[in-house]
């Protein structure tokens, strides 16, 4: 008997729904991205994101069911991201999912967004099983974790200020590339010299695996200000490449050091920034050098999607985890609290 789970994800600016079989097989994966709408404002506007979610959600869910050739009565459970994320955006998915589950008499399972990202690797790498080291980097999150078992995580390090993707967005805005910063800087950097400008790699005192990206961001802004005052011309491609190198270096360095310290030889990378070409290349090179196995999802499963939520929910479902009808959105949900 297979287990089919309908999963909904609305934690930020993608309205997404998927049907996943046995936590591995993606029967459908529908994503409506609001990115164009937010570009005008230079970033995600929470109220607009919430409004777009409510307008699009039924179309997205219905298409996911149609693509999978399923009705709601034929799935075994409904899963939904309940945190972390934008509270108004999360609430749309949570209310929709609970109502659908209730109407169809199905169980509801609340899923942690980061757990979803981590689980994205299982879709294309069924051979990946715990324990392994996970690096999750996105616009809202930067986490280095030990995946000790299915649904069991130990956080080694996280950002103490901006998420890596957030730093990308801020720097992209400062150098006139606009939103979203990740893919735009990645593209611009391809024509630049990563060694043109040295930006410092920040280390957080006392917590060797934590990250700090606001320092790199400030260094870029200072560099721009200085250039403006002295009338120097700024090579945007060089600046993008140098900033990107600073971010990528610290992500790779912490990950490899943790792997050595903990004697873990498998690394799973996930999150929107995991689709960044420089990070993928640098991490691959480092892992090859150390003899570690590296797992990265295809870009479509790196950015926010509901398939990964369905995969994470499967392991919860098999472990007997069920949420109540009072399931609420938790905007700053911690991975350990789940």
């Amino acid at each position: 008997m297979s287990v089919d789970i309908l999963a909904i994800e609305t934690s930020c600016d993608e309205t997404a729904c998927a049907v996943v079989r046995d936590g591995r097989e993606i029967l459908s994966n529908v994503i409506y991205t609001q990115i164009d709408m937010h570009t005008e404002f230079g970033g995600v506007v929470p109220e607009l994101a919430s409004r777009a979610h409510i307008d699009k959600i039924n179309y997205v869910v219905q298409k996911a069911l149609n693509d999978a050739g399923k009705t709601i009565d034929e799935v075994d459970a409904v899963a939904v991201t309940y945190g972390p994320g934008l509270v108004g955006a999360l609430l749309v998915g949570v209310a929709e999912a609970k109502a659908m589950a209730w109407a169809a008499g199905k169980p509801i399972i609340g899923v942690h967004h980061i757990e979803g990202h981590i689980s994205a690797n299982y879709i294309e790498h069924p051979e990946l099983t715990p324990p392994y080291l996970g690096l999750i980097v996105s616009g809202g999150h930067t986490h280095l974790v030990v995946v000790e078992d299915w649904s069991k995580y130990r956080i080694l390090g996280r950002t103490v200020d901006d998420a890596a993707g957030e730093a990308y967005d801020k720097v992209a805005r400062a150098i006139g590339l606009g939103y979203p910063g990740g893919p735009k800087i990645d593209r611009e950097a391809k024509n630049g010299d990563p060694l043109a400008v040295h930006f410092p790699i920040a280390h957080v005192n006392g917590s060797e695996y934590d990250f700090s990206f606001s320092g790199i961001k400030s260094a870029v802004l200072n560099y721009l200000n200085h250039a403006q005052m002295t009338g120097d011309t700024v090579n945007r491609a060089d600046l993008a490449a140098s900033f990107q190198k600073a971010v990528v270096d610290v992500l790779v360095e912490h990950t490899i050091r943790a792997a050595k310290d903990l004697k873990i030889d498998r690394i799973g990378m996930a999150g929107g920034v995991a689709s960044n070409s420089a990070l993928r290349a640098a991490m691959k090179e480092a892992c090859d050098r150390e003899g570690y196995a590296l797992y990265i999802p295809s870009p479509i499963f790196c950015t926010d999607n509901a398939a990964m939520i369905g995969v994470a929910a499967y392991h919860e479902y098999m472990a007997g985890v069920r949420s109540g009808w009072d399931l609420n959105a938790v905007p700053n949900l911690k991975l350990e609290e789940r």
């Binding site: 005008e40 404002f41 506007v45 109220e47 607009l48 919430s50 409004r51 409510i54 307008d55 959600i57 039924n58 179309y59 869910v61 219905q62 709601i72 509270v87 108004g88 609430l91 749309v92 998915g93 949570v94 209310a95 929709e96 999912a97 609970k98 109502a99 659908m100 589950a101 209730w102 109407a103 169809a104 008499g105 109540g324 009808w325 009072d326 399931l327 609420n328 959105a329």
Partner: protein, 283 residues
């Protein structure tokens, strides 16, 4: 004919089941818990209480706005999820019309008010004619001072029987209304002074009978206000629309031009006066 009704537009969470003109169950909680924690557990509770077979629901009624943006979306997403899973349409009930329906079928004007923050209330002006709710002025955000001026400006024929205020905006308006409003006015008692899904559902049944419902996927809340980011952008672009509602946000239960209403009321008053005169003659 079974309608499941929801209202989470304000602090109150309320759910009801209406079957063939009978209110089978209503559950209303006026407490600080979030709607995400209350709405579905309440629905589950009353559904179990009345042994509701979910497949027999014909339509979902929802207080569609205005109200707290987040509260509206929890109600709307719940309605949309129910509608999608059951394959049933949504009846969009303007929040203030739903509140006004608590007072069906009083004489005089009914003026529901909701606290809209920023020194404003969301308000509409309604009256009843038989069992029909007539919109004298559609729901909109307005300052208390402007609302009072508006009521003062209405024709005597409309205001002669006074106005009843109700809703969670009453505390915002009461002091100023008592001080400055010359139209006779009063306030609804506590149990009628808030959103009640029972009233939403009964009004929804009328709308449903008139074919006024939408497929679940088409439903969107009536915010009556743009997001802050859009307001700022509009101000910067020089086309400041402030809090003016978008045209698409305006739907009313049954709007009548106020002048026509006034004319009808005058004619009726004259006829009644004439009848009285005739009676006197006979006597």
């Amino acid at each position: 004919m079974k309608i499941l009704a929801l209202d989470s537009s304000g602090l109150v969470a309320s759910v009801a089941i209406i079957a063939d003109g009978t209110l089978l169950a209503e559950y209303t909680v006026n407490y600080k818990k979030t709607h995400s924690q209350t709405l579905l557990p309440m629905l589950d509770e009353i559904a179990r209480m009345v042994e509701l077979d979910r497949k027999t629901i014909d339509a979902i009624a929802v207080a569609a706005g205005p109200g707290s943006f987040t509260g509206l979306r929890i109600g709307s997403a719940t309605a949309k999820g129910l509608g999608l899973a059951l394959g049933k349409p949504i009846i969009e009930v303007p929040t203030l019309a739903g509140i006004a329906f608590n007072l069906g079928f009083v004489r005089g004007l009914v003026c529901p008010v909701m606290d809209a923050r920023r020194q404003q209330v969301y308000s509409g002006i309604y009256r009843f004619e038989g069992d029909r709710l007539i919109t004298v002025r559609d729901q909109t955000p307005v300052s208390v001072t402007d609302l009072i001026a508006e009521l003062e400006g209405l024709d005597d024929a409309l205001t002669s029987e006074g106005v009843i205020f109700l809703g969670d905006g009453v505390p915002v308006l009461r002091e100023e209304a008592n001080r400055t409003l010359s139209v006779p006015h009063t306030y609804a008692p506590a149990h009628l002074c808030m959103q009640r899904a029972g009233a939403v559902g009964v009004l929804a049944a009328q709308l449903y009978a008139e074919g006024r419902y939408v497929p679940a996927e088409k439903h969107t809340p009536i915010y009556l206000r743009k997001s802050q980011a859009e307001q700022q952008r509009d101000r910067m672009n020089g086309n400041d629309t402030g809090n003016e509602p978008a045209e698409s946000d305006l739907i009313s239960v049954q709007v009548e031009a106020a002048s026509k209403v006034v004319e009808e009321l005058r004619v009726r008053a004259q006829m009644e006066a004439g009848k009285a005169a005739e009676t006197e003659d006979v006597l």
